[in-house]
Amino acid sequence: MADEDVRGSVNRVVMPGDIIGNVADLETSSGKRATLKFGPGLREENGVILAFKAGVLRHRKPATYLIDSNQRRYVPVKEERVIGVVTNRGYDSYKVDIGGSLAASLPNLSFEGATKKNKPNIQIGDIVYARLCVANKDMEPELDCRDVSGKSSGMGQLTGGFMITCSLGLCRKLLSKEFVLLKSLGNYFPFECTVGMNGKVWINASSTSHTIIIANAITNSEYMTNNQVESMVKQIVNGM
């Protein structure tokens, strides 16, 4: 069956243009059991599921298939939270570089509690953490520093600290619940960090040396397993 087809190519490398499965077959084989979910890197074209990214096809419970790939260029996706650098100030909006092909716009009024008379004062070069409220391939992405209920919930300007750029794969790793790096660093150093889905990590620690240590630990952890990460953190703490 087609379902078997898809399962057969799980954990194998797929290339752009590879056919993963047939929509009609998938619909009949999955029946009413569950909806199949296809994640990033897969799309439907002429009745077949097609890969459009190179990477490893992964399956996640209950019925999600996605392509696990790593890249440095960010492609904006709606509702993702990203870190950007303000590059220009307009009359009613800022231009923010989020690492995508186009700079995003951030309206002055899309901050919690902002009014026409009381706007946030953000300078060129400042860093903001925001949610993408418009993101599609034909339009300029748009940011919003409030969640759906209008609260800031951690978003807004990030003052002080230090920002590093890493790959999108590492950012996903840092945000996953299984990866222990930030938690184990947090056992030894007081610090705060913000991980954007666009490959930017902002770190704020009590001293410059701590910031450097944490930044290096993050960049080095890209291809490490949890055990390796833990021994690395131990080494760092012993070396201090």
């Binding site: 929509v23 998938l26 619909e27 999955s30 029946g31 009413k32 569950a34 909806t35 199949l36 979910k37 296809f38 994640g39 990033p40 897969l42 799309r43 439907e44 599921i49 996640r60 999600t64 996605l66 996706v77 709606k78 509702e79 993702e80 939270r81 953490y129 919930s153 951690g154 996903r172 840092l174 945000l175 996953s176 619940k177 930030l182 938690k183 660093l185 947090g186 056992n187 150093f189 007081p190 610090f191 705060e192 960090c193 913000t194 991980v195 954007g196 889905m197 704020n204 620690a205 009590s206």
Partner: protein, 126 residues
């Protein structure tokens, strides 16, 4: 024969009704009524094409890794009380996720009404 007293509709005096907060209440009621009427009109104006039922597809696409790989929604974290506000937010987010997950689990695991009836009938007949 004494006539039964007419049931008088209780109403407040003109002076009371002219007070600011009473007026405001009346206005709010009126506005709500208008809103409801408007809503009803909108609902009635919706129409459905006959005989063209959308076949429900069991395939959906999700563009974000956040939902596919079960990542943290919010990327702000703080450790060792460096920024207590962020730590509180993070805990709240975790609690919310936990709640959503348990709710999903509950709805999945619960026995349907028909199943319950069927079992009950079997139990009683035995």
């Amino acid at each position: 024969m004494a006539a039964e007293p007419q049931p008088v509709k209780k109403s407040l005096s003109k002076n009371v009704m002219a007070m600011k907060f009473m007026k405001r209440k009346a206005e709010a009621d009126y506005r709500r009524q208008l809103e409801q009427e408007k809503q009803r009109a909108i609902e009635e104006s919706h129409w459905v094409l006959q005989g063209k039922e959308e076949r429900e597809s069991c395939i959906e696409f999700e563009a974000s890794y956040v939902n596919c790989e079960d990542l943290y929604q919010c990327g702000r974290m703080s450790f060792k009380k460096f920024n207590p506000a962020v730590e509180k937010l993070f805990k709240e987010m975790l609690a919310k996720e936990e709640e959503a997950k348990s709710q999903e689990w509950e709805s999945e695991e619960s026995v349907s009404d028909e199943e319950m009836t069927r079992r009950f009938v079997i139990q009683i007949s035995v």
